[in-house]
Subunit: 429 residues, 4 copies
Amino acid sequence: MIAKTAPMGWNSWDCYGASVDEATVRKNAEYMAKNLKQYGWEYIVVDIQWYEPSADNNDYNDFADICLDEYSRVIPAENRFPSSKGGKGFKPLADYVHSLGLKFGIHIMRGVPRIAVHGKGKIKGTNKTARDIASVWVQRPGEEFRVTNSCFWNTDMYGVDTTKEGAKEYYDSIFELYASWGVDFIKCDDIARELPHHEEELKMISNAIKNCGRDMVFSVSPGPSRLERSEFYKQYANMWRITDDFWDEWHFLYEMFERAEKWSIHSGAGHWPDADMLPIGPIRQCYDKNGWTKFTHDELYTNLTLWSIMRSPLIIGGEMTGFDDFTLKLVTNENILKMHKDARHSHQVWRKEIDGSEYVLWTAVSKQGQYVAIFNIGESKGKISIPLTDLEIDESVSALELWTGERAQFDSDITVELPPHATKVFLLK
Amino acid sequence: MIAKTAPMGWNSWDCYGASVDEATVRKNAEYMAKNLKQYGWEYIVVDIQWYEPSADNNDYNDFADICLDEYSRVIPAENRFPSSKGGKGFKPLADYVHSLGLKFGIHIMRGVPRIAVHGKGKIKGTNKTARDIASVWVQRPGEEFRVTNSCFWNTDMYGVDTTKEGAKEYYDSIFELYASWGVDFIKCDDIARELPHHEEELKMISNAIKNCGRDMVFSVSPGPSRLERSEFYKQYANMWRITDDFWDEWHFLYEMFERAEKWSIHSGAGHWPDADMLPIGPIRQCYDKNGWTKFTHDELYTNLTLWSIMRSPLIIGGEMTGFDDFTLKLVTNENILKMHKDARHSHQVWRKEIDGSEYVLWTAVSKQGQYVAIFNIGESKGKISIPLTDLEIDESVSALELWTGERAQFDSDITVELPPHATKVFLLK
Amino acid sequence: MIAKTAPMGWNSWDCYGASVDEATVRKNAEYMAKNLKQYGWEYIVVDIQWYEPSADNNDYNDFADICLDEYSRVIPAENRFPSSKGGKGFKPLADYVHSLGLKFGIHIMRGVPRIAVHGKGKIKGTNKTARDIASVWVQRPGEEFRVTNSCFWNTDMYGVDTTKEGAKEYYDSIFELYASWGVDFIKCDDIARELPHHEEELKMISNAIKNCGRDMVFSVSPGPSRLERSEFYKQYANMWRITDDFWDEWHFLYEMFERAEKWSIHSGAGHWPDADMLPIGPIRQCYDKNGWTKFTHDELYTNLTLWSIMRSPLIIGGEMTGFDDFTLKLVTNENILKMHKDARHSHQVWRKEIDGSEYVLWTAVSKQGQYVAIFNIGESKGKISIPLTDLEIDESVSALELWTGERAQFDSDITVELPPHATKVFLLK
Amino acid sequence: MIAKTAPMGWNSWDCYGASVDEATVRKNAEYMAKNLKQYGWEYIVVDIQWYEPSADNNDYNDFADICLDEYSRVIPAENRFPSSKGGKGFKPLADYVHSLGLKFGIHIMRGVPRIAVHGKGKIKGTNKTARDIASVWVQRPGEEFRVTNSCFWNTDMYGVDTTKEGAKEYYDSIFELYASWGVDFIKCDDIARELPHHEEELKMISNAIKNCGRDMVFSVSPGPSRLERSEFYKQYANMWRITDDFWDEWHFLYEMFERAEKWSIHSGAGHWPDADMLPIGPIRQCYDKNGWTKFTHDELYTNLTLWSIMRSPLIIGGEMTGFDDFTLKLVTNENILKMHKDARHSHQVWRKEIDGSEYVLWTAVSKQGQYVAIFNIGESKGKISIPLTDLEIDESVSALELWTGERAQFDSDITVELPPHATKVFLLK
């Protein structure tokens, strides 16, 4: 089963935008193999526009001259990924990642390259050309006019019309290529939020992956995905973003609680609502060589606790080789990672104002007992007592706080003192 | 704690509309005491317009001459509730219900009687009159014009303006009266769906109940309540309707699955999303002396299973003294009622089409094991196999089917054969 | 033909709100007869709640004890209209107004009195009661729930259900009464803006007026009426409000230009879009004995010019006996009133910004020539030249400025200098 | 003054779609010069995609290889317009049209060619390239996401970002080219309906035309244009489409009455609401060599009458050389064309149902008298009498019916008998 538990890994976006290079990927893989692998971390993912030679930060160069092979398929820019020279694609890099005991992933954009469309590029396995399969228009439900069916924030691609001859061959051909490289994880962009008018294209991609001969996690972006289509995502993808990009400002973390509440019941083996990457440690370094997460320690605990109790995928966004001791410990806490792996039936219990601050209570169960997380998402420090009856517990319980390892006994209430943005999370028995 | 588990009882609406009388209430209380009490059933609730002398079916007589006491409070119509004569109100009837070991409830409408407003009726404990506290207008969010703040399907009341002097005294006075009668359960209508513009009135009623000196379950209607205000309902009410009136046609039951999915995580001790009454056995007899539920046996199992695994309140709508053997067994199955009482973390797992029919999978946990309900809500018979991994179970399990008592062993899949609208529900260990 | 030209008169609202009395009506009628009648002014209209004994300003007393006759029909409050004593209604006052050579009008609310409904008041000509014809609910298009069908700013009435037996008799009976009093003008409120759900009631009232045996102008309020139903208003009413209440603040006048543009083509003999009363001279005196219009002289010229070139009804809102010389001249300018009477095909030509101010150009034609009005509705003084080709005039024209009587010759442009909010209006030949 | 009266001419779209050729243009010009010129017809307009070599009907070939000059400007496809060979563009053809005493027009698409953008095509007068000025995205008001700023029904162009250096140079350069060819009329597409997000681009085009050194009528498409921006169109364009494409089916003509009513007051010298081309005689011949208008004679009279009384531009859509006698007379009726030229203050008077059919009354005035058109737009034949007072006429009038030349006298009513879809139009004196 693919993604039986929520995937754990690293992705280049938060630190390098569209401009990561091979050396950076290699050193992060090495760091992960040495320091994190034993805790369950395994995926190394190259994010967007690895086929764009001139990319050098978070922005996209409109109508850039991207790299294609003879069959209209994007290939790594050799100036950024030297081992790909000679038509080798990502195979050498993937091999190296595999040699470290890890798995290798790439980002792709929905669609077919515009320059292949205007240039009548060939498609493998058919005499149709890229021009024949481009999806020119789409009618969004409830809108007066149709719109052009292409990404609204990046000009690399036109959409693909799945009803056209050659469309299936195109998508089959790209995953055949990625399988030959040894890709284990596909992050497909410009496809999750825009449902329903891209559902057919998502299905075609999902089937192409399933039939490509190699197991690949199928992750779809960007968010917010549409709650009313939860069963569709479950059926065709392994993880789907539940928000737009998540970054290291408190309001993003605050807003995630509402998303998490709604999506919680849709987590399960093989299908994971994805709260996006963890912006921890060194980030945004394509803009600022000294970039570092703006989250406080309390906020980082809150970030990891929510992602873990809700069982979101955990994808590190920071440059791992620059981790300080705190950050390394943050992502290697065994209690927390055990909860991430073993929790079942996770859900919010309540969210309310108490004494001028705002609190959220989550719970989940495992064979070891009942997990309870208490978040202070308001702006003032508070000491609150939560009756065990709020958790429908009628007896005394012993408790382990997961981050600190402290033990306690609660008879009728759980009393905690929490600064703003801070968290406590217990395993109750 | 009030309503620590989801309330179980009987209500007069489904069979008698606005026209139930004292003899009918008494005989149902007697039947419950004799046949159902030992299974946990306890509330006997008189529904709407017990203060309307001319009510004789489900319809309301517009601008009817309803019965009031000297303080603008509605009192039972003596022609329908003879024991209330002499200003005794519902006390004699409540006393009788209590004598059977049961609890007594009544329905009320939000607001103050229109005839008291036009007649400048007195309010106990203040020199203000009914006219002074009537809430004349309300501005609904997003609408161009305000509207009159009165119920849009019954003319008995005007709303109450909680900012007015005398408003609190009015609401306090009515619950003081109900407490003196011995009322244990308040079903307040015209208040749940209309939030947010009635939130202040709901809060005032909730506080009046809490301060009236007697424990009363506070149930609010009609539905659908607003999901985005779930925390508000939790805080101020014990149960709230999640749909408009539920009746004995398949489409109502089919539609409940979507509501149930969304509300499931909001159930807990003291606060219960309410899927409405069970239209079982003899119903609608105010129109048809031979009225009987149109649900098939399979549909009735589905009805009781969904309500029980989601932990909705269970309120019987049929005339109990006319129950056949099937119906009596339906509401006295100990396995099902144990699930209703003990289930925790109930939620839908998935909903999907398989081989041309539509299926829903629910789960919940208790100390005894894991509950799993499989519903065929499509229109064709099917035999389906559900991998245990869908439930994140990795090992063989023994199973008890709750309705039939049959036992089984499942190694990797749960295979069931289900006619349309039918259900199987297991306890797995 | 009723209202062959747009009606001209006086109304009590702008100065007295709901509280005008008989003496005030008489003195205004006398003033009009003496000073304005020869210029075409003729209607004297008593506005809202003349049946409410305790009304004393612009506000309404909710659930007030209003005066009814034995047939549930409102009658004048005797304390305010002493001549109505002995069941004479408005006949003595109407007779007096007629004796001065003028016409008499009254305001009514759509519907049947609430106190008659709750009290089962009789209706003339039928054995049905007020309770039988009350329209309790209405479903507004596009809204989820129906609402109570009663005015949302005044509690005197419930709506009338035109499908009920007794409804026609009720409306016929009230106009029979008004005809017996000698009423010439009905301003019916709570009916124009709320279309379409009150269309049937408006039609029933219109037909009752047509069949009552006396000519009455039928004016409907409040605004804004719905442009898409223009033909409906034309067919059933003689004038209909195109805005909510118009008052003496510039923004109201500024906003009228947009309404006037849209409604201009719907003016014609017998059917007049109504820009509301002229808040000139002494107004709001029920609040402030020294109340006086806040409009400047330039704004008053603009007000009268727009109303006259668009052929809105002209209804004076101020207390006429307090007019100063300027105000009297304002409403007795013969050039302007001739344009009001003779203009045809009135319409806006353009509206645009020139040199930092905003200008509007209107035109209309009559047998005497072409009218042209130039309004500076911006906030800075300007001198602008308007090519005659904007008016599709290709030759020199002679011009008479209507307010000043000045004459000019324009060869290729009309050049005017206008302070903010000021107006020039010419007759070109 | 450009377009002092509403333009009259011929356009290739209705008969040839995107595929008209030089020979066809020449023969229509010759026919017009010989048969129609003396009645005021003057423009010969080549519609869309004259730069597309493979166009052969109404459809567009997505991503076609269109013809450009060295400065990214579209030029005629030489296989379709042989006289353009050698870089002469449309000059030889325009010269020929001018030699016949007529004027020459072309259609253009908003924007810059996609193939020039992907190929970094040069722009005259700047060192910026087509890629630098392409407008990639646009945010439509009220929508959650921005969309790609390109036409949603044709792939030739990307939009132009007017804030970019090089944008003005691009638009100036294309009109410099068209002026050098002798173009007199520009029909610019993909720009009218999409306001407001294309307003800046429309302004830039309008200014480029004004400054190009040659008078050109500026016509904008497609419709429906936005009524609330009427003053904007007036200021920057000479004519703008008020509907989507108009064709020879009754429902299109029926629906035009509502558009015409709303736009009527915005007609005037230099600025004309445009009801689209006249689909008369031979049309759609790129699909069907025998294509012929489906309108009946009555419908054709109605079409011409409405367009003429409202003063829409009159642009013939049929192949003129195939006109039958009826069609030639239709477009050369001197009474009608005089009304089209001389009418002022055109507007609808009313629209209503009479005896089961639906009628519309229009009027306009000229120095010769008052025009009145009566349209039966319902589905049954009727004889109706229209009181002269509906037109605010109080005396007897003599009348000339414009199509038949019949004369009549009307004393108090105009009585006409009209089959469904038929029209009478009178000049009253």
